[in-house]
């Protein structure tokens, strides 16, 4: 399958500041790609360059093998949903949605425009609101109008810049499902920018995590969560335990790691990819929900620790466990299947499936 959108070596500099650095990625038809990153990581700049609202310093953008790098935004034919919707306050909903259709050349017949507007408003479940003004609609409804307006002219690609940022949590998760439903129904190729990792995990086929203007990792949601390629990713997506370690030895496909502490307990970790250099600042990484705890687990036990804190979080209970008296490890258990109740000061064993642990620098 050929790539629909190709970004090749895209760079944007503002005077001396590099906002986006040598960014390359490919997007296939119907794919939902999320660019995720902390603020200032260059994700919005990247999106604006694709939309034509910013000119790249170097690099190339092409859609269906057509170079659009320096095309003005109105000649790109891409749909864009803005952070604060950017609905035209002086136009009725139907005129807002019809706007891109009225801009089309050659001109579309009015009847056709009316039909397309009615159809898309039905899809976003807003029929009956045609004659209202944006200010008469709720935030969620305005969001739907913005979506309808970006989709009505059947653009090959739709760009969304934190479209749900202004909504409250409940409404946001409802709209996420809504966006996903419409995206799948119309099979729209989408680039979605957000700083909300949960949103990225819910919506995306693939996620590109950006850091300092570069893509730190580009993969499916599952792979990024299960196999982060750096401690930055492991920390940015979800929660992780980071234990500073050094390599103490090797046994077949497993590395023996020594925790950098006085006692220097040993942990085993599967070897993946290239051998890390021993000088690297190495960290043993595992997610809290992958860690199981118990009393006297026998040969299954991978580490011993002492409960330092118990935090009840509703869905889960989080245990902060002190390892070697110097590091804190957290473990999460579903409240439904709590096997044992521990309290502060208890000595416990920790275990995990070694596939879920990783050595990162």
């Amino acid at each position: 399958m050929d790539a629909m959108l190709v970004l090749d070596g895209l760079t944007k500099k503002y005077q001396e500041v590099v906002a986006v650095k040598d960014l390359s990625l490919e997007l296939h038809e119907g794919e939902f790609l999320t660019i995720l990153g902390p603020s200032g990581s260059g994700k919005t700049t990247t999106l604006k360059m694709v939309a034509g609202l910013e000119t790249p310093t170097s690099g190339m953008i092409s859609v269906n093998e057509r170079d659009i790098t320096f095309l003005p935004p109105n000649e790109r034919g891409l749909g864009m949903v803005f952070q604060n919707y950017a609905l035209f306050p002086h136009m009725r909903i139907k005129d807002n949605v019809a706007f891109p259709l009225h801009m089309k050349k050659p001109r579309l017949p009015e009847a056709e425009i009316g039909r397309m507007v009615a159809e898309i408003l039905q899809l976003v479940q807003l029929d009956g609101y045609q004659d209202r003004y944006p200010s008469q609609l709720s935030g969620g409804q305005q969001q739907r109008v913005a979506l309808a307006r970006a989709l009505v002219f059947h653009p090959p690609i739709v760009l969304m810049d934190e479209p749900l940022g202004a909504l409250d949590k409940k409404l946001r998760s409802a709209m996420q499902l809504e966006i996903k439903r419409i995206q799948q129904k119309l099979n729209i190729t989408t680039i979605y920018v957000t700083h909300d990792q949960e949103e990225a995990l819910t919506l995306s086929d693939r996620i590109a995590i950006m850091r300092d203007g570069e893509i730190a990792q580009l993969d499916t949601a599952k792979n990024i969560y299960e196999h982060p390629n750096s401690s930055f990713i492991a920390d940015f997506i979800g929660e992780s335990n980071f234990v500073p370690v050094e390599i103490a030895g090797q046994e077949g496909e497993e590395l023996i790691l020594r925790i950098k502490s006085e006692q220097g307990s040993l942990i085993r970790c599967p070897r993946r990819g290239a051998q890390p250099k021993p000088t690297d600042d190495l960290k043993f990484v595992i997610r809290p929900e992958k860690v199981a705890i118990g009393r006297d687990l026998g040969p299954e036990a991978k580490l011993r620790g002492q409960v330092a804190q118990v935090i009840y979080l509703g869905e889960t209970v989080k245990y902060i466990i002190s390892i070697d008296g110097s590091y804190h490890f957290s473990a999460k258990e579903q409240t439904m299947d709590i096997r044992s109740h521990f309290s502060v000061g208890d000595l416990i064993d920790l275990t995990w499936n070694s596939e879920n642990s990783q050595l990162l620098s």
């Binding site: 935004p73 109105n74 790109r76 749909g79 306050p89």
Partner: protein
């Protein structure tokens, strides 16, 4: 019109923030009271003293002064001249002012500050000083004529002073800030993403401006036009100094009737006509622009 709006918005804010329920009318009335008293003493009272003078002669009702105005072509001509000068001033100010306001709204704040200082500087300079400056520039031996003569465009000085052109130039210059400022304040409040959104949806830069930015700036244009037109109708110093007796406007005419001929009744009648023109303009304006509804829509 403007007062009732202020009172209305004040009332809403009050109602939302006060925990105690108090009649919203009383508090909003208290807020406008100082300005109301001021207007009563210095505006309504003199006007009420003046108006009867135009329709009473020895305690008997008469329309003779109004008849007098409409029977003398010279007065009608002066009134018409006043109206077209004001319309021209307003139109030219719009054409000159909108681009400046637009520029102000898109440049960096530092540049905008510099341009703004220039605009405000001219606003802060005394009206008299500015008008005299124009006299210096426009007179027979002034800058413009010296320039034209030196370039050989004309062989003898052109008469600019005391023509409608001189009055127009002076009025346009002095009233320009009143056009720029309200338009700028509205343009600045328009979300920049709106025109970007229009462009991303297929509109060219021009179309995005015409379909989005321009219609959204209508409230600013409306205030600018109102401010400039109404002020120019009553303009006195500038037309008197730059237009003199040859290009007389309504305010000059009234002044002459009252202070030269001591004919208070006739002067009052002219004043009433000028007031009626203003009210008529406001009415027509409100009808066509429907400013109230426009502003509501923008909130």
């Amino acid at each position: 019109m403007i007062f009732s709006q202020n009172a209305g918005s004040g009332r809403q804010r009050e109602g939302a923030s006060l925990p105690r329920r108090r009649s919203p009318w009383i508090s909003s009335f208290a807020m406008i009271l100082p300005s109301l008293i001021l207007l009563m003493i210095f505006y309504f009272y003199p006007m009420m003293k003046l108006l009867p003078q135009s329709i009473y002669e020895d305690h008997a009702f008469t329309l003779q002064y109004f008849q007098h105005i409409f029977s003398e072509p010279v007065y009608i001509k002066t009134l018409l001249r006043t109206i077209w000068l004001c319309l021209a001033t307003t139109a030219i100010n719009f054409i000159l002012g909108y681009p400046v306001a637009y520029l102000l709204s898109i440049v960096k704040s530092k540049t905008a500050g510099a341009i703004m200082t220039i605009i405000l500087l001219s606003l802060w300079t005394s009206l008299l000083v500015r008008t005299y400056s124009w006299m210096v520039i426009l007179q027979r031996t002034g800058v413009v004529n010296s320039f034209l003569l030196a370039l050989g465009i004309v062989s003898e000085p052109v008469q600019i002073m005391y023509t409608p052109a001189a009055v127009l130039i002076g009025m346009v210059h002095i009233l320009l800030p009143y056009m720029i400022l309200p338009i700028y304040s509205v343009l600045r409040s328009i979300d920049k993403n709106l025109s970007l959104a229009a462009m991303s949806l297929g509109a060219s830069r021009t179309k995005a401006f015409l379909r989005v930015t321009l219609p959204l700036s209508v409230p600013g244009i409306a205030s600018g036009i109102l401010l400039v037109f109404i002020q120019s109708l009553g303009f006195y110093v500038t037309p008197m100094l730059l237009g003199g007796a040859q290009t007389l406007v309504a305010s000059g005419l009234i002044d002459r009737q009252i202070f030269t001929f001591l004919d208070w009744s006739f002067g009052s009648a002219l004043g009433v006509i000028l007031l009626l023109i203003t009210v008529l303009f406001l009415g027509v304006f409100d009808r066509f622009f429907g400013m109230d509804s426009l502003q509501k829509r923008l909130v």
